[in-house]
Amino acid sequence: MNKKNLFRQKLCAAPHLVWSAIFIVVPLIMVAYYSFTNADGEFTLENIYRLSDYTDTFLRSLWYGIVATLICLVIAYPLAYIISQMKVKVQTTMMMLVMIPMWMNFLIRTYAWMNILEDSGIINKLLSLLGMEPVHMINTGGAVILGMVYNFLPYMILPIYTVLAKLDRSLIEAAQDLGAGKVRVFSKVVFPLSVSGVVSGITMVFVPSVSTFYISQKLGGGTFALIGDVIEMQFQVSNNFNFGAALSLVLMVLILICMAFMNKFSSSEDVGGGMVL
């Protein structure tokens, strides 16, 4: 019976495995292949050597990604916590409100921010109506980070909210019975139990932030480039697939390192906090 079950399990997993193989593994192998070859398909390390010219661009992208992720976390955690404490009916409405902007296309929303932040945009028009000095916002790093936070915030709220809403309330009650105050309940019980949500939220915000190109082009005014812009240009303008692939490969490795670091952090936190699951 066990064997039969095992076979069934494998059969069920087969479509997923085939899907992953074709659309994840094969493209990854192609990226690696292109990185180490030149246009004629010969082996070369030239693409890798050239990467050193882009150290600053990589660092800038990482930094913007980190800042955007931290801001998202600071906004999203309290929000998710507050929502999870509300009545169930209100909770669904609130989550709806979080989701609604995502129904609109990401490109259009970013384009709209361009009009809002411009020197002659909505905010500055309002300020001048109120008799205040205009603030220069567009085409700065801050505008790009704002774009990232705005666009990716729901991806942080959702996983944290899901974990907090499913939290076993008896654990909180137990902590309270044992004499823990509000702060202690939160820091010793609620937060450690929600770390898995925080980690997946960070992953879902950090990865697209680091690799974005559209936001930096529209809100950054093209005066500086993020690594996503450089990669995009290799494919769209220079037709240099090999170097574009090398850049993508390094970006992937960098993200993997960050994620590995994150996971180490979270797993140790789980044990330290006494994860029950």
């Binding site: 600053d56 361009m114 411009e118 005014g221 812009d229 240099n240 330290g272």
Partner: protein, 397 residues
């Protein structure tokens, strides 16, 4: 858009179209009924029925019974990638000059049977035998344009006539340049009197120095955002295509346009048939259809670019007839040159210079400090957690 003129011309077009539809089709194409053609064109580059314009593809389907699968691209290079990878079979593509040169060299487009395109006689002679197709075998001109400088008359004083306006410190923060290396470098190359198709590294270096000097004055590097920013007055000076200026001018009459005296680049977008075409006969029928007076007129009105079709240029219903921006007189005609396909070495040099331009002048020390302190803080946190874990574990021993 000049709504009224549009409406009038559309009505006229509709009336006119019924007559030649039957008159010109001497050859029998009825066997093509029910077949399909795949058309791959620039975005916003055909009259599509919006705002009461003529829906060119629908009209073609109606007249011939051939279904048109219409898709668009946003750069020549994108189009090239699609065509080269063989992911899709197109019967019609409409790339620009330098890309056609490359497509012909790589045998991605095939010779057209011009005997099936009687309307080719509508094309002006000056747009035949162009450098990328010297014997007129592969391409049929669709649209023509030149780059010029657009400026806001409320901000810019006097009547500028040179590329130097884009380097004028007086207008710092109001200037925009292309966010695409080839076009951006061309502005500097024309300003410095360099060849836009140079393969000499020193020439590109000089152009790079100019762009670097311009960067502190530049508000942003833009492509499609240019419409919004110029129309709203967010920026006052930019280089862009003449045809697009006309659509901006409709929304902001303070704008003005000139061709710089140093010269500027000209482009021709031409219709080609890829080698992989499955329905060449229908493709040729489609090309002939696009050259027909009523269709070409509708397209010229919609796209606002200059047309190489003389039946349109001489048509009294054409709202841009005699427009000096689209069709400069001999005296107003600037020095022009076409882009040629750059060899891969030059291409590589250009893109790395472009990347350098983007990196140049940005303050990075803040980022270094931020990244380092972030690493230190997170490391400290990990160590703290680990130590606490150890201490707790020791309780259970």
């Amino acid at each position: 858009m000049k709504k009224f003129l549009c409406l009038v011309s559309v009505v006229l077009i509709c009336v006119l179209s019924i007559v030649p539809a039957f008159a010109t089709e001497s050859k029998d194409y009825s066997h093509l009924k029910g077949t399909e053609i795949n058309v791959y064109n620039w975005g916003e580059y055909i009259s599509d029925g919006a705002d009461d314009t003529l829906d060119v593809n629908a009209l073609f389907e109606e007249e011939t019974g051939i279904k048109v699968n219409y898709t668009t691209f946003d750069s020549n290079e994108n189009m090239y990638n699609k065509l080269k990878s063989g992911g899709a079979d197109y019967d019609i593509v409409i790339p620009s000059d330098y890309m056609i040169e490359r497509l012909i060299a790589e045998e991605l487009v095939q010779k057209i049977d011009f005997s099936n395109i009687p309307n080719y006689s509508n094309i002006l002679d000056e747009y035949k035998n162009l450098y990328f197709d010297p014997n007129n075998e592969y391409s049929v001109p669709y649209n023509v344009g030149m780059v010029g400088v657009i400026y806001n008359t409320k901000v810019v004083e006097g009547e500028p006539d040179s590329w130097s306006l884009m380097w004028d410190e007086q207008y710092s923060g109001q200037i925009m340049n292309f966010n695409n290396p080839r076009d951006a470098f061309a502005t500097a190359q024309w300003y410095a009197g360099l060849d836009i198709n140079s393969t000499d590294g020193a020439d590109w270096g000089k152009a790079y120095e100019l762009l670097k000097a311009q960067k502190p004055l530049v508000q942003s590097y833009v492509m499609d955002e240019v419409y919004n920013k110029m129309e709203s007055g967010e920026a006052a000076i930019c280089a862009y295509y003449a045809g697009d200026f006309l659509s901006m001018y409709d929304n902001n009459p303070d704008l003005a346009f000139y061709y710089p005296k140093e010269g500027t680049n000209i482009f021709v977008d031409s219709i080609c048939i890829p080698t992989s075409s499955q329905n060449k006969e229908a493709a040729e029928l489609y090309i002939n259809f696009l050259l027909r007076e009523d269709v070409a007129l509708a397209n010229a009105e919609y796209i606002c670019y200059a047309t190489p079709n003389k039946t349109v240029i001489n048509n009294d219903d054409y709202s841009f007839k005699g427009n000096e921006i689209l069709y400069p007189t001999k005296e107003g005609m600037p020095v022009t040159n076409y882009f040629h396909h750059l060899d891969s070495q030059t291409q590589l040099m250009m893109t790395s210079l472009w990347d350098n331009l983007k990196i140049d002048g940005n303050e990075n020390t803040g980022i270094y400090i931020g990244l380092i302190s972030f690493c230190v803080v997170s490391l400290a946190l990990v160590i703290f957690v680990k130590v606490r874990q150890k201490i707790r574990a020791s309780y259970y021993d």
